[in-house]
């Protein structure tokens, strides 16, 4: 027994020693924390292997598990940092803690591509000390492009539209009327109860429920507050106690008591929510597209007649909607190199390699001739067989591997110098042509070439968006924000689930509780909006 154990130990030692030697000769490893909940990297993918071969860089990734805010708090407290990290809108906390290195000189000396492609945004990225600490996940170096799906909307199941004769949905009442009628006619789908409406309320994702009043008033996604143009100046206003909020929650309350809103909608976690949406039993939900995309992709693959179609729903028809995003980059967050990184030059060189056009085409489009073709005008396109491959989200992620290099890593958006979109499903000439048959049917019925055509073009807002502003950690505004979210968390379910006759009472309590919890935040946001209007 003893001898065997010793032998085994020796064997393990030799193996690790040799593998360490081999990797030291051939590749360089960087550790990186990515604030996105992706499954672990499969180890080898088509895109990943090419990148590894060309750069000699191996990434040791840690993806987010659980709650980002907690993770960030613990990382800063412990001081245990990876070489590089992204932390969404908590990135600046690492800067405040002195844990990020300035990138200005590194980019100047070692990263010509980053310098060139971020040139347009560079001034926005400078912090008070004049340094740049992170590269935003997206850069728009040339022109902007369009997409098939809008950023957000009231989504409705295709079969509801089809049965109602393809109505254009404009108001909240109309939206719920359609759903209600359908539920009455078809109380069961495939033997299971039809679910009229689901709203997502899982921890930090609950904005999918609480953000809605601003959109009903026609605003794009600003976050918790909305800068309203008053006499030529953007003034930060709250909408949580607005009339729109009351109408919205009252409507949900009415629908809840009628059994249209799913009974357990407020206790669902995100996985359960996606599972419900992709079951084909759900008729409607409000959300930002990226939060329902997973379900939509599953439906497109397995159950294309039950896909969700977005509409820009507003309170009533007197309101003009500008719900789409003004193209922007998230200037207050991005990928950073930490003080723990032993080879910042190597790291920035790797990022420089990642961001250049050739690599971007590789991670988004794939290998020429294999994953996409080029026509005689220089435009990229995919054949039917290639398209079919890319419609399978599992294949794209686990075999192709592109998402592991553009999710949470700096990437390019918009169109390149040859008129190709960096993202295949935004390729200008192909948005309609590459759509699924089921999507085409809807587009044809409405006479549009993309679902974004249901929406108005956004109006310019130079500061856009408000939500990328972070309130200082631990400040009164920050405490107020947490308290406000507590109130929202406690009261929104109460308002929706109370008996109809009690709604008024619960609403009044809610207004009383939340009204005192917004002033400090408004002050901080107003200051930052003013600053952006002046300096951007």
């Amino acid at each position: 027994m003893k001898r065997k154990g010793l032998l085994l130990l020796l064997l393990i030692l030799t193996v690790t020693a040799t593998s360490a030697l081999v990797s030291a000769q051939k590749t360089q490893t960087f550790t990186v924390f990515l604030s996105e909940p992706l499954p672990d990297y499969p180890g080898s993918t088509i895109v990943g292997d090419i990148i590894e071969k060309e750069t000699g860089v191996k990434l040791q990734r840690e993806y987010l598990v659980g709650d980002l805010e907690t993770k960030v708090g613990l990382m800063i407290a412990s001081g245990e940092l990876p070489d590089m990290l992204t932390a969404a809108h908590f990135t600046s906390l690492f800067k405040d803690a002195g844990m990020l290195i300035p990138l200005n000189d590194l980019v100047e000396k070692h990263a010509p591509n980053i310098k060139r492609l971020y040139a347009k945004h560079w001034e926005q990225l400078k912090q008070e000390d004049g340094n740049v600490y992170w590269l935003p996940i997206q850069a728009i170096p040339y022109g902007t492009d369009n997409s098939r799906y809008p950023e957000l909307g009231f989504f409705i199941n295709k079969k509801v539209l089809k049965e109602a004769g393809w109505p254009v949905i404009k108001s909240l009442d109309q939206y719920f009327e359609l759903i209600e009628n359908y539920v009455k006619k078809h109380p069961r789908i495939n033997g299971e109860r039809t679910i009229g409406y689901v709203t997502l309320f899982d921890s930090w994702r609950s904005f999918a429920t609480t953000n809605v009043p601003q959109h009903l008033l026609g605003y794009p996604n600003e976050g918790e507050f909305v800068p309203v143009l008053e006499k030529g100046k953007f003034v930060v206003r709250q909408y949580h106690t607005s009339n729109a909020a009351k109408v919205y929650y009252q409507k949900l309350n009415e629908m809840y008591n009628k059994g249209i809103v799913d009974k357990e909608t407020f206790v669902l976690n995100y996985d359960q929510y996606i599972e419900k949406l992709s079951s084909g039993r759900v008729l409607g939900t409000f959300n930002q597209y990226w939060q329902v995309q997973e379900a939509q992709q599953i439906l497109l693959r397995d159950d294309p007649e039950n896909i969700f179609i977005p509409f820009p729903v507003v309170l009533d028809e007197s309101i003009e909607e500008y719900q789409r995003d003004v193209p922007y980059i998230q200037a207050t967050q991005g990928l950073s190199i930490t003080t723990a990184c032993k080879d910042p030059v190597g790291a920035i060189k790797f990022l420089d390699y990642l961001i250049r056009e050739e690599t971007q085409h590789l991670v988004q489009w794939g290998v020429k001739g294999q994953h996409y073709e080029v026509d005689n005008k220089g435009h990229f396109y995919r054949t039917e067989a290639q398209l079919k491959l890319f419609r399978d989200p599992d294949w794209v992620r686990d075999v192709f591997g592109g998402p592991y290099f553009y999710n949470s890593f700096p990437n390019l958006r918009g169109i390149d110098q040859n008129g190709n979109s960096f993202m295949p499903d935004r390729q200008p000439h192909l948005i309609y042509a590459d759509s699924h048959e089921s999507e085409k049917e809807v587009m044809d019925a409405y006479g549009v070439k993309a679902f974004t055509e249901f929406y108005n073009a956004p109006r310019p807002r130079k500061y856009y968006p408000l939500w990328t502003i972070t309130v200082p950690a631990g400040s009164p505004a920050h405490i107020e924000q947490t308290r406000m979210k507590d109130i929202l968390n406690a009261y929104v379910p109460r308002m929706v689930m109370s008996k109809t006759k009690d709604f008024e009472k619960v609403w009044n309590n809610y207004v009383k509780e939340i009204s005192g919890l917004m002033q400090e935040q408004i002050k901080v946001y107003q200051e930052q909006i003013d600053w952006r209007m002046e300096n951007w």
Binding site: E69, G73, M99, S206, E264, F266, V267, G474, I479, T482
Partner: protein, 321 residues
């Protein structure tokens, strides 16, 4: 002044009297002592040295700066804590859920141990025991999803069964009723830990002198009487000691379970100290505040343990210290 030399003499006398047996016992038990050294070192390193970090509670700690360059704020963090209305809610929830778990957890474990002990068929006994403690090894992340699914209004087993039995007409959204949350936590705790908790009592029961049972049988005691007069009194010391030990965990118990089962609707009843420290401390980078809450918990826990221990002493029961 005149009395001083006398006391001095008395003291030295005392010491010399005590010294001999002490060194003798030390020599006698040197192997035992040697064996305990690693544990003492472990406790010092991981339990005593970190107490040094308590100074954070009196500062406005910011990670960038060294521990001596921080701004000292005195008792500000504690003042903030005691003025926060959420704090009292949290205190209530923590105590309520801990006590529910403690009481029902112990009672059910003891009952299960007694029942399993009375089973004659060895195969059945072993199987029942294994099945009952299996849930202990599932992490709460998985277990919480099981509980969620079981309590779902959309085909969850609990609602289905109740409806089939015509006890309720409409499915009940158990996880959405604030007043029920404590009991769901209690019940799921019992489900997960009952078998595991029973092991220690079973061990205690196994060490009961069989002669006692024989004597009781001869005296005409039935099964229940034997349990009541022999088994229970024999494991009473273990019960008391476990109770005293668990008192120390009253304020620190619960995190994953509440964190994973909570939702906005029940937050007022679900937030316990650990979650409070996270939400209002670590997540906001208010490390000092989180430390202050931690100190409060430690001090109260200490009082509770000593209180329970003292009570046990008063009642003439087995004690921990």
């Amino acid at each position: 002044m005149k009395t001083t030399p006398v006391t001095y003499e008395l003291l030295t006398e005392n010491i010399t009297i005590q010294k001999k047996p002490f060194w003798q016992t030390l020599k006698k038990q040197k192997v035992l002592l040697f064996m305990s050294v690693p544990f003492v070192v472990h406790v010092i390193i991981f339990k005593y040295i970190p107490i040094w970090g308590w100074v954070l509670a009196f500062q406005n700690y910011w990670p960038q700066k060294g521990i001596f360059d921080q701004v000292w704020v005195g008792f500000d963090n504690f003042k903030w804590l005691f003025r926060d209305p959420v704090f009292y809610q949290v205190l209530r929830n923590t105590l309520a859920m801990s006590i529910i778990q403690l009481v029902f957890g112990m009672v059910s474990s003891i009952l299960l141990a007694l029942i399993i002990n009375e089973v004659r068929l060895l195969f059945f006994k072993k199987t029942a025991q294994t099945i009952s403690y299996l849930p202990h090894f599932i992490s709460w992340v998985v277990a919480a999803n099981l509980v969620r699914d079981a309590l779902s209004t959309d085909g969850g087993i609990v609602n289905e069964v109740l409806m089939r039995l015509h006890i309720i007409k409409e499915p009940i959204m158990f996880l959405g009723i604030p007043q029920l949350f404590w009991w769901i936590i209690g019940a799921s705790h019992v489900w997960k830990e009952v078998g595991w908790g029973a092991i220690i009592y079973l061990a205690a029961i196994a060490s009961v002198d069989p002669n006692l049972y024989e004597a009781a049988t001869i005296d005409g005691a039935g099964r229940l009487r034997r349990i009541w007069h022999v088994t229970l009194p024999s494991i009473q010391p273990i019960i008391i000691i476990l109770l005293v030990m668990n008192m120390g965990y009253l304020l620190s118990s619960g995190f994953e379970q509440q964190y994973l089962l909570q939702n906005g609707r029940v937050i007022d009843y679900a937030r316990v100290f650990t979650i409070y420290e996270l939400d209002y401390g670590i997540k906001m980078m208010r490390y000092s505040f989180a430390t202050a809450v931690g100190i409060f918990r430690s001090v109260v826990s200490l009082v509770l343990v000593f209180g329970a221990n003292y009570l046990a002493k008063l009642l003439g029961q087995e004690r921990l210290l």
